[in-house]
């Protein structure tokens, strides 16, 4: 069975640009979460979507937005990129919420120059 897939794997953008990251969850999983992992730190929660509705949002500015599609795939959008947005962006899926463990993709490495 396919795991969580993320695209692209690597991305280089310039300050001020916009970026869209994509995630396909494990088949049957209805929840998708996004995390930002800065080098040397643990993953920081950005968003959680369940059944196409936002269930939670972390402490990130409004430049960050996301959505979940009817097939449960998801996009993370970041506008007006800053140097500090450089990080590994991880997508995770789970069957539900709460005590359902997360299944992570390998991430998208975003570099902002």
């Amino acid at each position: 069975d396919a795991g969580v897939t993320q695209s692209p794997t690597h991305l280089i953008k310039t300050r001020g640009q916009h970026v869209t990251l994509r995630c396909s969850p494990i088949s049957g999983h209805k929840s998708v979460s996004w995390y930002q992992q800065v080098l040397g730190q643990g993953p920081q929660f950005i968003f959680q979507y369940y059944e196409k509705e936002e269930r939670g949002r972390g402490n990130f500015p409004d430049r960050f937005s996301a959505r979940q599609f009817p097939n449960y795939s998801s996009e993370l959008n970041v506008n007006a990129l800053l140097l500090g947005d450089s990080a590994l962006y991880l997508c995770a899926s789970s069957p539900g919420t709460g005590n359902s463990p997360l299944h992570f993709g390998n991430g998208t490495r975003l570099t902002v120059t």
Partner: protein, 112 residues
Amino acid sequence: AQSVTQLDSQVPVFEEAPVELRCNYSSSVSVYLFWYVQYPNQGLQLLLKYLSGSTLVKGINGFEAEFNKSQTSFHLRKPSVHISDTAEYFCAVSDPDDKIIFGKGTRLHILP
């Protein structure tokens, strides 16, 4: 709000020696606890989870963890490590809003 503290940023240990990675959490309500492992250039993989029941939880790759409610700890242990255990380990807790919050991680260095 829930939080997780991993007390050691790096832990060096000789191959075939035992290891303990420490994790403390803060919560005023019942929690679910997790340990994840991240190998270089990869996403996170679940090692084990505590939801309820027995306080000693066994996971993959020979790891186990003990939930201690009075000490609000969930330390990860392995009796004998191998070079392949070199990775970063993250302790995590679910919050009342069903978000999973991660600690800053502990890098495990296996010495030959």
